[in-house]
């Protein structure tokens, strides 16, 4: 636990360092903007001061003294300068935010892909999508607002207080004292805000995962007549999200109210104290001194909102900081990549040579409580031969496939390809050797062509044609509205199970790998379709090393060695099947 806390701390620190480096221009521009603000208010005070004292005629002070003109053009120039600076700094920090999000998203996606399908045993795909999309979007504030604010909240008020001290030390002292109150309030509210914001994101993620899952099975829900119940539960989840969000906002608003408080106290104190001094001075000082006194006090009064603006920026950005910790937890909670132990090397296979595969006393445990999914399994298959794994569902057939795909590693024993331990083969090299067809192929959002070319994007038109013919995709191509350019929805709407499976076969043809893994490829097909698909599969298996997992009677007609699995053990190896 403490180890993971340390990891989170380290990660957050790295992000803070990177974030700060990226917003350096914004910080500099922010300080310059504060200085420009002070200069502007100096101009304003220099018009208001003389104008006010000009009317103080009863004692004869200041009568006839003209209001200076220079502050007006100066005001215009500085105003334009300041607007330009703010524009630049806003754009600079927005750019920093975009870069940071891009970088983080890349890291997260890389780590998801690196982990492989095992990641889905840990998290719902909705939660993963929320992590890669929303969670990282939400970090924008951390890089655009928090990073500059974390420096500016000290730097800008400090500069302004020093400037004010030259003009009106009394007011500077009031500002400094009121300003010092803010960090205390922030620390007090900030801790609460961090906890609340983490919980809020959890509620958000839950809502998303729940909704995505319900969405995918919406027909099941509707047809079971449970849509109302589900809507109510979604309502509860949405309401929970509201309550959590309000908790954050309550704290955030409270902290910004505390800054308002400090600011108003400063305003009132300066107005009252300086007002009293000015009143006392009316009859005792000469006109020029009185005028500069009023001007100085006005400047101090005007600078108050400017002094508190960076502090307010900090309060607004405080919850952004809390988000980064929550994100760190989620990002670091992604399972570590299945790192290959020791050195790996490329396994080269000559085109006509083929690959022999052997399981040597392989065991695997998914879950300690449920015992071994595979228990001391040994078998071998020669290059170009076929092995048929049969057995009831849950016997361990799919586990064998996952092992061969390298998604999981044997708990004990080893698997060899041409005598080389699989763990020592570089993953890219391994993937070149293997084609895989599962129970229900995933079709990606996009056209049919893109879905087939997925196996090998650089395939020529001719190779594509060949694969389409060999997999009998051409049989149903004509019935589709746009032929091979037909767009396919998520989950492959518009294609029947048999058609989808043919796409998978076409992919395997296109890839043309020496090893073919077939994981119950006809489980969801009716026998007529199964028969058709079987023919296409049979041509595909020629001259390849095939491992077929199936309990379908039709597929049992494949020529090859039979291995019967039962509860993770080899129950019988039935020599050559008919």
């Amino acid at each position: 636990m403490s180890e993971s806390k340390a990891a989170i701390k380290a990660w957050t620190k790295t992000q803070a360092r990177l974030g700060l480096r990226a917003v350096r221009p914004s910080i500099v521009l922010g300080i310059v903007s504060s200085l420009a603000g002070a200069a502007q208010f100096w101009c304003v005070a220099n018009i208001l001061g003389p104008a006010l004292t000009d009317f103080v005629t009863p004692s004869g002070h200041g009568a006839g003294a003209p209001v200076p003109v220079w502050p007006l053009p100066a005001f215009v120039v500085i105003a334009l300068l300041r607007i330009a600076i703010n524009f630049l700094s806003e754009n600079a920090s927005a750019t920093a935010g975009r870069r940071a999000r891009s970088r983080l998203r890349n890291e997260v996606l890389g780590s998801i892909v690196g982990t492989g399908p095992a990641v889905l045993r840990h998290a719902h795909s909705g939660a993963l999508a929320a992590l890669a999309v929303d969670r990282i979007e939400a970090l924008d504030g951390y890089f655009t607002r928090w990073a500059p604010a974390s420096v500016l909240w000290v730097a800008s008020p400090f500069v302004l207080a020093v400037l004010t001290a030259f003009v009106q030390p009394r007011a500077a002292l009031i500002l400094a004292l009121c300003g010092l109150f803010v960090p205390f309030a922030q620390a007090l509210f900030g801790i609460g805000a961090a906890v609340a914001s983490r919980k809020q994101f959890l509620a958000m993620t839950r809502l998303q995962a729940r909704f995505l899952d319900r969405m995918r099975g919406i027909a099941t829900i509707v047809l079971a007549g449970r849509a109302d119940d589900e809507a109510q539960r979604l309502g509860q989840a949405a309401d929970d999200l509201r309550k959590r969000t309000m908790k954050i906002l309550r704290v955030a608003f409270l902290s910004s109210a505390s800054i308002d408080c400090a600011m108003i106290v400063a305003l009132i104190l300066i107005a009252l104290i300086d007002g009293r001094h000015v009143q006392a001075a009316i009859h005792t000082t000469d006109a020029a001194t009185f005028r500069s006194m009023v001007t100085a006090s006005l400047f101090a009064l005007l600078i108050v909102p400017e002094f508190f603006a960076p502090l307010r920026g900090l309060a607004l950005a405080y919850q952004d900081r809390a988000l980064v910790q929550g994100a760190a937890e989620d990002i670091l909670a992604l399972p570590a990549e299945v790192a290959s132990t020791g050195e790996t090397h490329q396994l080269r296979v000559a085109a006509d040579e083929g690959v022999a595969i052997a399981f040597e006393n392989v065991s695997f445990i998914w879950d300690e409580a449920r015992g071994r999914a595979l228990d001391d399994v040994s078998f071998s298959v020669a290059a170009g031969e076929t092995v048929i794994l049969s057995g009831p569902s849950g016997a361990g057939k799919s586990t064998v496939m996952e092992l061969l795909l390298g998604f999981i590693k044997p708990t004990a024993g080893r698997i060899t390809f041409n005598g080389v331990d699989m763990q020592t083969i570089a993953p890219t090299s391994l993937m070149r050797l293997i084609s895989w067809i599962g129970q229900r192929p995933i079709l990606f959002a996009g056209s049919l062509r893109e879905n087939i070319l997925f196996a090998r994007p650089d395939a020529t038109e001719e190779e594509l044609e060949q694969a389409i013919r060999a997999a009998s995709v051409d049989g149903f191509l004509l019935s589709l509205p746009d032929g091979i350019e037909t767009m396919i929805g998520e989950g492959g709407f518009g294609l029947s199970g048999g058609q989808a499976q043919r796409i998978a076969i076409a992919r395997a043809y296109l890839k043309n790998a020496p090893v073919l893994l077939l994981d119950e490829p006809t489980a969801y097909l009716d026998p007529v379709t199964e028969g058709d698909v079987f023919e296409s599969l049979e041509t595909l298996t020629r001259n390849r090393t095939v491992i077929l997992a199936s309990h379908s009677t039709a597929l049992q007609e494949f020529q090859g060695q039979r291995i019967e699995l039962s509860n993770g053990r080899i129950a019988g190896a039935g020599g050559e099947a008919a």
Binding site: A224, I264, A271, S398, F493
Partner: protein
């Protein structure tokens, strides 16, 4: 990219407006809270105006040796302002989030109305994006647009009258600047952003679809070594989103700068008037009060121009959310709802003609079939013959173009969906296992089922023994799409869910898919014993020989041929 023509823009604006009106209707139950939030926010604005002008007056008065504003009233105003501002923000946000929660539920309900046939071409990721991001964008409608706009409407006359009192020309000029900053520029920004329309939300949805594809297609991606390629694709979706955001943030910064120009010009005019340059000199005391007031007024509306820039996104988001409600199948001819529910459950298809889409061939032209209540029947045939279409028609997942489907002599188009779905239980080929416990997955079939009934259903589906071996038995988490059990076991759990339902009609669409031969036979033998007295419609490509059936039809060429 081609520029949208002005007619397209006008049409889209109209559509966006209609969508916004629909959404406001959904929010109606929260009208009282939303109004209360508005009132509080206006009070906070007033308190702020009073505070800023009296603080200026107090000091300016002091310079003249007068007490224009007492210290006490200043303190009261200050405190009032802080309390009001805090409670207003809290209350308004809470009211808005309540309205958003209601909108999310409404979205799901609307979606479920049209979703009996599944999601079709709609992508789950895109829908998720609408539920989460688009609905979230809509909070700006109230919080970022309506509230500040109402505040501006209140401050505008106050500001103009007070300044006109000192100098009418100045009052008019500052009034124009204020109106530009609070009304004209936000409106212009809104129009500009509308032209870009839905770009941002589409980009966000595209990214989400890409990421979901990557996550759920991981097996394929790894098996084909496509990781880097798919990441590239997602990255380009990411870059498109970022480019949109960059454009938006540049524009926001620009309009923000424009609104600061207004503020600064207003201050400049006041200064000139106080200095007596270009205007008749106004009394300095009054001038200082006006300065503070003007600054506070412009500050309060400074966010509006930026919010206007988001109006296009809000309109597009509203449009995407509302569009869901309009996408569901309806009967070809409107049918008046039935007043009397059927009392017996004979099923009759009468002269049904049906095609899924106008550009697809007819599945049926003149199809008739009667299934007596309580009988056990099988519909056989190769895939694509229309067996599953019959199930869809029976469940109102689709409507026939001609003819009708009757239950107990009543046209099902006139029956409430809820009634129909209570009386027909369906195990489809695409039945979904939810990311939940086995127990909750089963309870979907019958929420009030007791422990005993659950186990009976599991045993009937020949999966009870397996569930008993699991450490958490019924409370085992199934994982997404049932990943934590094997395909065949998951299928049998789905079957148990259907058997658990008390509906008088059971439709089993290929129930034995994914079962091995022995389990399949066992299952059909069990089926002969259970579900006595209920109508069982078995949809299959062939029979195993052990089923005991009253009627068997072969569906082919759009007709039912008795076997």
């Amino acid at each position: 990219m081609s520029r949208p023509s002005s007619r397209d823009v006008a049409a889209r604006e109209r559509a966006d407006r209609d969508a916004l009106i629909r959404i406001v209707e959904v929010w109606r139950p929260h009208a009282a809270r939303l109004t209360m939030g508005l009132v509080l926010s206006l009070l906070a604005v007033l308190a702020g105006l009073a505070l800023m002008s009296s603080a200026g007056l107090r000091f300016a008065g002091a310079a003249l040796g007068m007490v224009l504003v007492t210290a006490t009233s200043l303190r009261v105003l200050g405190l009032g302002r802080i309390v009001l501002r805090y409670s207003e923000r809290l209350y308004a946000h809470d009211a808005m989030f309540r309205a958003l929660a209601t909108l999310r539920v409404w979205f799901f309900r609307s979606l479920s109305q049209g979703a009996a046939a599944g999601l079709g071409f709609r992508r789950a990721g895109d829908l998720l994006s609408r539920l989460v991001s688009d609905i979230e964008t809509l909070d700006g409608l109230y919080l970022r647009l309506l509230l500040p706009l109402a505040g501006a409407c209140l401050t505008f006359p106050v500001l103009v009258l007070v300044i006109c009192n000192a100098n009418s020309l100045l009052g008019i000029l500052i009034g124009i600047l204020f109106a530009s900053s609070a009304f004209i520029m936000p409106l212009a920004a809104a129009r500009l952003s509308r032209k870009e329309g839905a770009g941002l939300s589409h980009a966000q949805a595209a990214l989400r679809v890409g990421v979901l594809d990557l996550v759920s297609g991981m097996r394929e991606i790894r098996a084909f070594g496509a990781g880097p390629r798919i990441i590239d694709q997602v990255n380009s979706a990411n870059s498109r989103l970022l480019a949109r955001q960059a454009q938006l943030s540049r524009r926001m910064a620009f309009v923000g700068a424009l609104s600061s120009v207004c503020t600064q010009t207003a201050l400049l005019l006041l200064l000139a008037a106080i200095a007596g340059i270009g205007f008749d000199r106004i009394p300095a005391v009054q001038g200082v009060g006006l300065m503070f007031l003007t600054f506070a007024c412009f500050e309060a509306v400074s966010g509006l121009t930026r919010a206007g820039m988001l109006a296009g996104n809000m309109g597009a988001a509203a449009h995407r959310v509302v569009a869901i409600a309009d996408e569901h199948p309806r009967p070809v001819q409107a049918v008046s709802p039935a007043t009397v529910m059927p009392t017996h459950f004979d099923i009759a298809f009468e002269h049904v003609a049906f095609h899924w889409r106008a550009d697809r061939p007819d599945v049926f032209r003149d199809f008739s079939l009667t299934i007596p209540a309580g009988s056990r029947v099988a519909l056989l045939g190769p895939s694509g013959a229309g067996k599953s279409t019959l199930a869809a028609l029976l469940l109102k997942a689709a409507f026939p173009q001609e003819g009708q489907v009757l239950i107990g002599g009543v046209d099902i188009a006139s029956l409430p969906d809820v009634w129909l779905r209570q009386h027909i239980a369906w195990l489809s080929q695409a039945t979904h296992l939810f990311d939940d416990t086995i127990r909750n997955n089963l309870l979907l079939g019958r929420p009030d089922a007791d422990e005993e009934a659950l186990w009976r259903a599991l045993d009937e589906a020949a999966v009870g023994d397996f569930v008993r071996t699991l450490p958490d038995t019924l409370d085992t988490w199934l994982g997404e799409g049932g990943v934590k059990v094997s395909g065949g076991q998951g299928r049998r759990i789905a079957l148990a869910r259907t058997l658990l339902s008390e509906a008088p009609i059971l439709v089993l669409d290929e129930p034995a898919t994914g079962l091995d031969a022995q389990t399949e036979q066992d299952f059909f033998l069990t089926l002969n014993r259970v579900a006595q007295g209920r109508t069982v419609i078995l949809i299959a490509h062939r029979l195993t020989g052990v089923e005991q059936l009253d009627h068997v039809w072969r569906i082919s060429g759009g007709e039912a041929v008795p076997v």
